[in-house]
């Protein structure tokens, strides 16, 4: 117990526990991971909520994210300033949403953010092209990319505006059986 209290107060842990899908232990482990990323920046003592933010470059070096082609977008989507600087709160938030327990709706909201590269609240063709190139390591020919983008929009676009709104996206996700199991990072 003594060790725990040096990092977080009981109340803080309770708050984290109720606000995320993690247990106390996991929160502490997450803090450990966060601390590991930049031992000189992140204090061990979090009882007074220090305002420490780690830059994107540090976060994406985690083994869980290192090879993920969407790592920058993921971190940006969860950072409060949208630039990719993560506070510990954001960090916990990120893995909470990506945990096994998070519901489909919540995951869908953040997945939409991640795939919305230009942050215009729509997934347009440009976003899709970027997504595809990340998915396939840019090994598809431009024509193939184009075709796939068109097909994908055609399938999921319900209102015919040639881009995917969140409603379209959510609708599509709700019918994709594997989404829950794939939008999931084990930490």
């Amino acid at each position: 117990m003594g060790n725990k209290q040096t990092i977080f107060t009981d109340e803080q842990l309770d708050a984290y526990q109720d606000c995320t899908f993690f247990t106390r232990k996991e929160i502490l482990r997450l803090h450990g991971r966060f601390h590991e990323l930049a031992p000189h920046l992140v204090p061990m003592d979090y009882t007074n909520d220090p305002d420490v933010k780690l830059p994107l470059a540090l976060i994406v070096n985690m083994p869980e994210l290192k090879e993920n082609p969407f790592r920058n977008r993921i971190v940006e989507s969860f950072s409060e300033d949208g630039l990719g600087n993560l506070s510990f709160n954001d960090f916990v938030d990120m893995f909470s949403v990506l945990s096994e327990m998070a519901p489909r709706e919540l995951k869908a909201i953040y997945a939409f953010k991640i795939y919305d590269f230009n942050v215009d609240n729509y997934i347009c063709k440009e976003d899709l092209e970027k997504t595809l190139n990340k998915l396939t390591r840019e090994e598809l020919t431009p024509e193939e990319v184009n075709l796939v983008c068109e097909k994908a929009i055609e399938e999921a676009d319900l209102d015919g505006d040639n881009k995917l709104s969140f409603a379209d996206f959510e609708n599509m996700i709700s019918r994709a059986p594997d989404f829950l199991s794939t939008f999931h990072i084990r930490i």
């Binding site: 709160n89 909201i109 795939y115 998915l135 075709l147 999921a156 319900l158 594997d178």
Partner: protein, 904 residues
Amino acid sequence: MELTEFGSQGSLTAHRGYHGYQQSLRARTTLPREANNNSPQLPSENGPQFGWGSTPTPEEAGDSDKNQSLRELPLHMGLKRAVWQVQKMQVPVVSRWGSGINKYTKALKRFRKNAMGILVKFVLWRKVIQKIGGHFGGGVQSYFLFLRFLIVLNFLSFLLIAAFVLIPNIVFEAQGSSVFSRTGNVTENTNTTNCEGYDHGSDTLTPFYQYFLDLLSGTGFMEYSYLFYGFYQNTAVISNGFSYNIPLAYLLTAAFYFLFCLVCIIVSMGSALRVITAAGGGAVGGYSTLVFTGWDHGLQGDRATKLKQQNLRHQFQVELEEERFRLKAASQSLGQTVGMYVLRIFLNLVVFALLGGAFYSIFVATRFSQSRQEEGFLGLLLEYLPSIVITVENFVVPFLFGKITILENYTPSVTVIMALLRAVFLRLVSLAVLLYTLWAEITCGGKPESAECLPCNYNYNRYQCWETRVGQEMYKLTLFDLLTTLAVLILVEFPRRLAVDHCSCALSRWLGRQEFEVPSNVLAVVYGQTVVWTGALFCPLLPVINTIKFIIFFYCKKVTLFQNCRPASRTFRSTSSNFFFFVVLLLGWALASVTLIYSVAVIHPSYGCGPFRSLLTMWTIVPATFYSLPNTTQEFLFYIGSQKFSIPLFLSSCVLLCFTGALASVYGRSVAQLKIQHKNEGRDKQFLVKQIKEMSEKQGKIQDNYGNRGNKENLGNRENKENLGNPEIMGSHGSPQNPENHGNPEGQKHGTTESQENHGSPEIKENHGTPENHWNPEEQNHGTTEKGENRGTPENQENHGNPEIKENLGTQENHGSPEKNLGATENKEVHGAPEEENHGNPESKENHGTPENQENHWNPGNEKHGRTENKEIHGTPEDKENHGDPENQDNPQNHSKQSRTKDQ
């Protein structure tokens, strides 16, 4: 009470809300301090974004719900923690009793959570399976999950059999024969005594290697043991009130074992199916799901991600190829089509020939191995001949099938399915052929009156205890399957990997690393399980052997997966494939249960061995026991079996079925309707946005001059309760570019939007008009009554002369003056009725959830929207008319002009 009101509105925005990036960092970080004071009155500019209402008041929701909803909110952690703190503050409001309960439930919840956490640790191979999922994706993971399911199933089956058959047998054996009494004196034929001999391997000294051979083939010391049917006694223990009938227990346990497996399969199948139906039957096209859900974020490691990327690229190409293929097929000439079908028919014939050949070879091999008796190693080879033939065929024939299906020119996805279905067919039917051959040998081809079978009803000369023989066959199949898997692992897979990794010759590069093909691996496992089910009656310990075998499988496959494999280029979707696995498993179960029922009900059991010796069929024990039951029980069971009971049962289940069917179809229809509605709404929105764009482009930037006046006034206007309760309005209050106009800028805008809609299409009026009404209770009336409706109706002029409107005008003139609120309330009175209606209109609330609204929530430029609309008013012909009209004061622009002049 403001908080609650706030809450009910805000929760909609919070849940639906996709908050985007409009929140300023500062705004968020300031919140916690605010929250600490537990002050319901937040600075208005933060209001809408915070989704306060996401915290339902204690009356509305229990503690657990609150936390649950908090977790699921798409808010940043800082906000959530702030909200959490507020929630915590609220707790003391509850009475002491309530807080006690709260504490109790909280503790209980925590305990449950901890318990679950501990239980999770006991889940078999959780970590391993997680790791596999992480490296190879969901498809491969589903194979291991399936394997784990079978291991658990087999182990539970073993417990069942051990509890009811094995342990009683051991106990009674140990007790000695004093308490034994033979059941079934039903020896129907006295001249069968020469059938009762059972010579099960002698105890003479055998060479050492013989033990090994016996172990492999289940003969010798293995044959007469608990492993096989022949060893079990046909005894019943009856001593002061306690009776245990081993034959009956044996039979019922087997029956329950089958039922238990069936229930397990159906339950697992149901959960797999539920996921599929929840996903809408997987009807979505491949591209969008592939793009957005194709990436497995759980993947770690450079190699795995590279492979996954290759894999996805391959899948995209396959999809495109399929598309091209379809186009090509559509444009094929008649001659080509005919040629293709001829080719397919021909290849199908080849497939059937192959299958026929395979089955015949199994038949011959089985007969040969059954008819010859050899000693030593040759004997072992003979014993294993059917197993070897089956295994070799299962390696070679599916490979050929794969090649053939490629020639058949199906689309790639069909190719996979065809190859797989043929492999399933081969596996299960080859087992069936083996069983048929055994049956023909045992019962002399189904003719008990033939010379060989006449004395004993089965071929006694060759099969003194035929059940044990069948059990041995199944034992050998199981064992051989395990041995080949191990051999392939050691002799093929490792060398292949070494060759690929350390040798750069063309052949090894062409071979590449082995793929882990989920479907064929699952097939192998299903085949193994089918063998076990088939043999379970004759070899009661087969489930435990199979448990061990599958555990070895599990680790072998894990090792080969991590060491030797790359993921398959064509992945199986884990969800739909799960269902497919269970379907195949069910097929295997059906095959095994047919065997079971046939051998229980038709074939004469051996005279010399087993619990059913001296009975006509195995089933005979059940009626025999039945008649020994007390009379009342008998009558009751008779009643259950009689028509009096079964016909009403049948009818009622029919009714229930019809009801469920009707319900399902109604749901299906309503789902389809909702989908159409959703589509239409999207189109409506699309249409509106287009119109607004067109209009705004036409009009240019006339209204930009109308700057930010009056904003201050509005900000000072906080006492206005409605405004506080309405996040939208508050949001715009905070925004600097709010076009002034009197008191309530949005009201006008939305009013005008509506007038446009009415021009376009009459139905939309409802859709679009209502949400605005909701947002803006006061001003919306201007829009609806004065513009929207009047324009559409010929009584336009009359309305203009309407005293109500005049009153309105009077109030509106006040808008520029300090008594703005007064004006607003008066307005309300005037138009009281329609406004109330709109407020209470359920549609308006629903509309909050529709995409249009969402868009507005996200759109930080709400004000912009409003501005463009303002411009439009000027351009509409009606407006021009109004300009010339002395009563045109209802036009917002005029108002603004007026108020401006007044201000000046």
